[in-house]
Symmetry: C2
Subunit: 361 residues, 2 copies
């Protein structure tokens, strides 16, 4: 099987590696940056460095367009012009409504979006198992050819992904809330805090762990996120407006001073988060352990080693250092009641005190 | 010197321990829970288990009220009735306007709020160095006696804290934004996500790292947070309303589709977060390193050990597991350009690829 990858970054490079190893595919790659193409050849992401989109598409049965969201419609259109009549062309952009509308009724095109690799970039980080177990959304339309859709789905399953069809608008709406809205909120919060501190004569520079968590992605990766915000602007704006309304309602509940209403509101939020994490984890509900530790270098290592030896995996972790960094607490999220119990016992054996927090509260 | 601690939990117990060790103080403790008092005696948090607030206050030169925010005004009033005419009485509640108003013009009272220990609870976690380097806000009023204020400030400095006077309303407004608002937003976001996913026929259960970070404290510790929300309701409601307005503006900017406006908005948020982190860290601006690692148990240990051996401290950490948990990325935040460089080199020596991310973008 011959594949083409247009744009050989982390995602494109990993597609190439996986297809070569698992499908025995012959992969032609094209990238505007010559040094990227060279690196992709060097680390085995592609078999052949193509000289143009047309050259890459020549003879390919499937074409993956893996460029940044902002330039994807143009590149995908070019690929469709150059690809064979019986080739399937797909993209990997994290928003789908815009590109599906831009391409229109085209039997050979299927929009796609793998939920993998957002945390890094660059072909030097490509790896053949990037998509192992990863959800890969596909957005077929009424015009999509059935055989071509089937071919694409099989390729994705072969490289380890879990393809799932979804309406492009539904996809964008869900991603707007679960993925893009947290970034919008982090941006808003970072500036709110700075403005509030700037206004008062007093300075409160201490940034607590909750503020750190809540603003971690503020202003993240402008090249990627500006494109995503623009491509999915309608759904993200809707999600932000809905969150704004909920926040305004929360302000009213708080201002009411009703202990009952505040408790109901707070409790419902805890349950909602609990259900979200439980739905994600294969090991069942996730429990938080809080461990009091000296903050010396190496302490996280000790904890992680002890849990590792005990066969307990850490789903999530957060450090809460004390003001002088001499000590603090580490939160460890562990899946399954049994795993959490075992983890707590292992940590206690190290001589640390542990609090096991109910995920719902 | 004789001290009284009313409410011997994490904070009260740590005050007792620190005062006994560093000031050679004789500490009397009172708590409604008999077993808490016993535990406090057993681990050296207090010298003497008092039978009542009056008993604890008898002869004390300084009285620390360290009960939950909801019952603090009552307990503090009782302590003021029982304490000597020349005793200073203070509290450790995380909101200040309500209690300062409740106590009124009272020369012996100074409101207080140590920024320490929020991450755990219970006298069993008390430690004498809990306040080492920690900011400790004090809210004197025009009625506060100068000598008593000075005595309190000296005690706090002796136990390692950094006391700072602040107007009670200003304190609550700043805490509302930097500490309480992130909790309100996490609550709102957790429910928004659940509602959006519930509405659509499709399910997108994958919870990405940005959503996990942004909702980490949703519904956290109801006993503590419901009290805080109620005690600081006016300022928190104002902060939530302001954030709601900013979020609504963000929705407008996104909907406009102007690449320039979106870029300016996103860039300003990155700079705001950068400045907040830099203001906090003693080591200068904080840099994020992204490390690609296999997700086997023990990998975090390897990283932390290597950095520990190299003398590099980790300010903050986040794990970004891949879908199948077989691999992923770890973000490490390191203070100072030199520290970040050394850390990157140490991680590369382990054979991992590292991205050094500009804090501002």
């Amino acid at each position: 099987m011959k594949l083409a990858v247009i744009g050989v970054g982390l995602i494109g490079g990993s597609i190439g590696m996986a297809a070569r190893r698992r499908l025995g595919a012959e992969v032609a790659g094209y990238d505007r940056a010559a040094e990227t193409l060279e690196a992709a050849l060097a680390n085995g992401a592609i078999d052949r460095a193509a000289e143009s989109v047309a050259d890459a598409c020549s003879g390919a049965e499937a074409v993956f367009c893996a460029a940044p969201v902002g330039v994807l419609p143009g590149i995908t259109r070019e690929a469709l012009e150059e690809a064979a009549e019986d080739a399937v062309v797909t993209d990997v952009g994290s928003t789908k409504r815009e590109i599906v509308a831009a391409i229109g009724d085209e039997p050979r095109f299927v929009g796609g979006h793998p939920l993998a690799g957002a945390e890094t970039a660059g072909v030097e980080n490509a790896r053949p198992d990037l998509f192992e177990g990863a959800r890969w959304y596909l957005t077929p339309t009424g015009a999509t050819g059935g055989l071509l859709y089937d071919r694409l789905q099989r390729i994705l399953a072969e490289i380890g992904a879990r393809p799932q069809a979804i309406d492009a608008s539904e996809h964008d709406r869900a991603m707007a809330t679960t993925s893009h809205l947290p970034h919008v909120i982090a941006n808003v919060l970072a500036r709110e805090v700075e403005q509030t501190l700037g206004e008062g004569g007093e300075r409160l520079p201490e940034v607590g762990p909750s503020l750190r968590d809540a603003t971690r992605v503020a202003g993240a990766n402008p090249a990627i996120w500006e494109d995503i915000f623009l491509a999915n602007r309608a759904a993200v704006a809707d999600a932000a407006a809905a969150a704004s309304a909920s926040l305004s309602q929360a302000a009213d509940i708080l201002r009411s001073g009703s202990a009952e209403e505040v408790a109901a509101w707070h409790g419902a939020a805890g349950q909602a988060r609990s259900r979200l994490l439980a739905a994600e984890s294969a090991g069942g509900p996730v429990t938080e352990l809080r461990v009091i530790v000296p903050n010396r270098p190496g302490i996280v290592a000790e904890l992680a080693l002890a849990l590792g030896r005990g066969g307990v995996n850490i789903e999530d972790m957060a450090l809460h250092p004390s003001a002088d960094m001499s000590s603090g607490a580490v939160s460890l999220w562990i899946a399954g009641a049994e795993g959490a119990e075992r983890a707590a016992a292992l940590v206690r054996d190290l001589g640390h005190t542990v609090q096991v927090l109910d995920a719902a509260g």
